[in-house]
Symmetry: D2
């Protein structure tokens, strides 16, 4: 199985119709366009995919649609984490059957006062034991309120079927320690386009970041300069990436990302209630920002 | 409909068999025993009910079992909050049909950076509009990482079908402000047995606390002393409540509560993976604590 | 020595001239007016006294002025905490010589990662050993970023020369545990006028709160109702206290408190740079708030 | 004036005798040894210098001793920040007269709820206006509980007499934004030896880190590899730096740093009470760690 976890991955949004129902045809349309863009793969059903607001059946439908719409051999990474180990295993098996190459499993987090290092490492090992495909860890404290420690990650990373991690913080010391930990076949990806170059400098191999949904070229350019040893160019490109990334993705979240998709000919549409849509004023502000940073003309 | 939100409510655990499956017969057995104890009602599918680890169908089965096992006219409060508004409304309707009197709806919390006051108030109003039964708000930052503000609560509390709230923090100033806010027919319950008396002193009407699952008499005694104007006794009883409550419920969480059920003739059993069971040593420690505070002989 | 730590204490601001120098004459003038108000004592050199911006010599001058201006036998409590134990002991001795009755010693906090329970308890015991007057503990995490635990407080409270504490949080469970801890001659005061009644309900004896500087009557009224067993009135008065207290003291800090002094015929004046003065618009807003809550006509 | 803010700087501890008094002779001895080590300069009176526990007069004595003991033209950076603007300006002037080249001014932080961006930027500009030497900003949230924002830094950085900053967090995105902000003659140093390479990758020019007090060669080696374009070596060296740095400096703080000085022939001695000395067991543990990482034989 092909699981080269290097490069720039888009954490794709899940398209909905105005009534909140899944828009699978729009998803296929979007995939066709992403296939023409400079991307190394897709994460479906991540935070940008609004996974906590989807049913298990909807999640499988999303994956099947992605797989059938993909023409390349790019990676399809599925978000399959649930609070319950049994539910996570079940969804992971169904995701593999639906065509996912690997899975990004968010840390369980509701009972955060019970989530010790050994519980977390044990959880990922149990999922890995049961999973027909390799799995990845997803640490995203901004949403979960839980931080998986370096020690817990390195413990889990010893498992042959745990192949990597998306670290959504910009904790470069933790990331360096994980890379230095010499876990066999364990690849680290960052969730932050704004901190991409510093992460590359200590051994991170790629990024899964919202910005990649509509401007992957700018992130790829940082990596290309870094890989060629041209640090000065990499730094200049990285610096230029921060403001548009923060302005677009941090300020307006998934609703903003969906609006940006439309600037590349994709379908954006609504996000699911109760989270709020962009107002007209916010959409205008977003487009002004995009214009300022040459994301649109 | 009877919805007198005053008194001491048990947030009942969901019983599981060793293989993790629902133990509905054990639930009926436990209800029969709780019916003999000094309680004013039950919250099924709250945090102590491990709601984030249950499927929607399991949740309905729990509610149906509770309703059919209950012989009293005590309140049955159902936890029906999901991240998605549509899912919350759907589950709330099913819960009402399954026999719940009212529902405790946790704040949506995954995209906490998008959860403004107006979004939260609007969410609860939308649920209330669609719900066939009155609803309650559930604020529990220790698990959700999200704090619903006084202003948002008072906004939601204007809705005729929003009848109360469980505030799980010990923020007495917030609670006093809500009581002082003169929302019509809005009742505040605290989640903290340890802070019960201070809450009563500013107008809170009762409590939903884990300790009530196995020692409701001690909490009722505080309320009785307070209601009769005997503050000195209320204070003494409150002081005596804190250590056992913290030692039992805070130290070992739901696994500890389940172990304590067995001291009152109920079924305890496992909690769902990946959250950890009590070790033998922890169970022995828990029993020693219970003995020290005269919860068992 | 008289150290009855019960009642309502004003944490008095330190008056400065426009050039930032100490205005000791204004302080004497203010004391004369406070002496006519319903207060049980004064805290000089607390947070409202801007203690971190004063030199040791200035602090002693403040205390000497307070003592000579006071005609009553009310308590004079001096803030004497420094980061260094030696400096705290030195200042405490000088404060006693200057006429203070007791001292409020803030927790050391800069190296918060080194501040264990035993370090903190040991610190207060060392100060108590060396102090010619009894001492009190001052826990104020909002400013220090450090929370002194129940266990550390109860350890320190065993010392015969440690007579009490100002707890600035509204953590009623911690306060109840301290009261229940049966420390001999240890009195707890709350820093929160907004949470005064809940604190009284579990054994707190009084309050040191900014609001007492210009409206102590409203706080005394809560205590009087509580002491007489009229809980309903106490609750009504407490509810009415929260909004003006938050609006005036929380919104504008020490600058706001100084502006409010002028409404009672006292001198307010500047706060020390770099902390910002009220703008004209802020002052107008403050006065509008004060009018809304009948603090001025 | 020479103020080349590039390289590796030691934030030197202040030596004390066992009775807590200043050991200026030991300081001169230590300086003589540091002068033989691979360092670009010294920060006296930083957090490692225990500045919050020193009087103003002691601080000046430390600076005078450093200057007279220094034979090189390395930079002498003095910590002169106080809560009060007037005190900071006064101490800064005295520090310049005592021989400091520049000053590291910690953010005021006690009234953190009043510390807006404009207040902080204005504060540093006021110090810069009054200072006879150029000044630097010191942001250290782990101790102050206050985070100075990118916007506030870039505002202050426009001032001609504000020449740089020590950022003690590992927030690489903030640091990149500051570098990208094109402030004229504004140099960024990181406080983290563990995160040094990622910081270099986005334009940070050096580091002030505790580890430099006793093993500057290892940090210099990272910078040399980076400057020569040998990223692979830089990464390997950076990875190897993290564990010893965390084990020695994070685990035992200033007391640990002082103990490590002795491994290089310098005087270590006590830290000031109330902060705790190393126990014998801790000292043995520290030496075992140092041996494991080849910091001693």
């Amino acid at each position: 199985m092909h699981t080269k976890l290097e490069g720039v991955f888009a954490p794709i949004p899940t398209p909905f119709n105005a009534d909140g129902s899944l828009a699978l045809d729009k998803l296929a349309h979007n995939i066709a366009i992403w296939e023409t863009m400079e991307l190394d793969g897709y994460v479906a059903l991540g935070s940008n995919g609004e996974f906590p607001l989807l049913t298990a059946d909807e999640k499988i439908a999303v994956l099947e649609t992605c797989r059938s719409a993909m023409k390349s051999d790019r990676l399809l990474i599925a978000g399959t984490g649930c609070e319950s180990l049994a539910q996570t295993i079940d969804l992971t098996k169904r995701a593999a059957a639906a065509g996912a190459d690997t899975t990004l499993v968010v840390t369980p987090f509701y009972f955060k006062n019970r989530a010790t290092d050994s519980m977390l490492a044990g959880y990922f090992k149990s999922v890995a034991d049961a999973s027909p495909m390799p799995i990845m860890i997803y640490n995203v404290p901004a949403y979960t309120g839980l931080f998986m420690s370096t020690e817990a990650v390195l413990d889990a990373a010893q498992h042959a079927n745990i192949i990597g991690m998306k670290e959504s913080t910009t904790d470069v010391v933790k990331m360096a320690q994980i890379v230095a930990g010499n876990a066999p076949n364990f690849t680290l990806l960052t969730g932050s386009a704004s901190g991409f170059l510093p992460c590359l400098s200590i051994g991170v191999k790629g990024t899964i970041s919202a910005f990649a949904n509509f401007a992957p070229e700018r992130i790829q350019a940082v990596k290309r300069a870094f890989d060629s040893g041209d640090l000065a160019t990499a730094m200049t490109l990285q610096h230029a990436l921060i403001e548009p990334n923060k302005a677009v993705t941090a300020k307006y979240g998934v609703a903003g990302v969906k609006a940006m998709l439309e600037t590349r000919g994709m379908y954006g549409g609504h996000i699911r209630a109760p989270y709020p849509q962009l107002t007209d004023a916010e959409r205008a502000d977003l487009m002004a920002i995009a214009r300022r940073y040459d994301l649109i003309q």
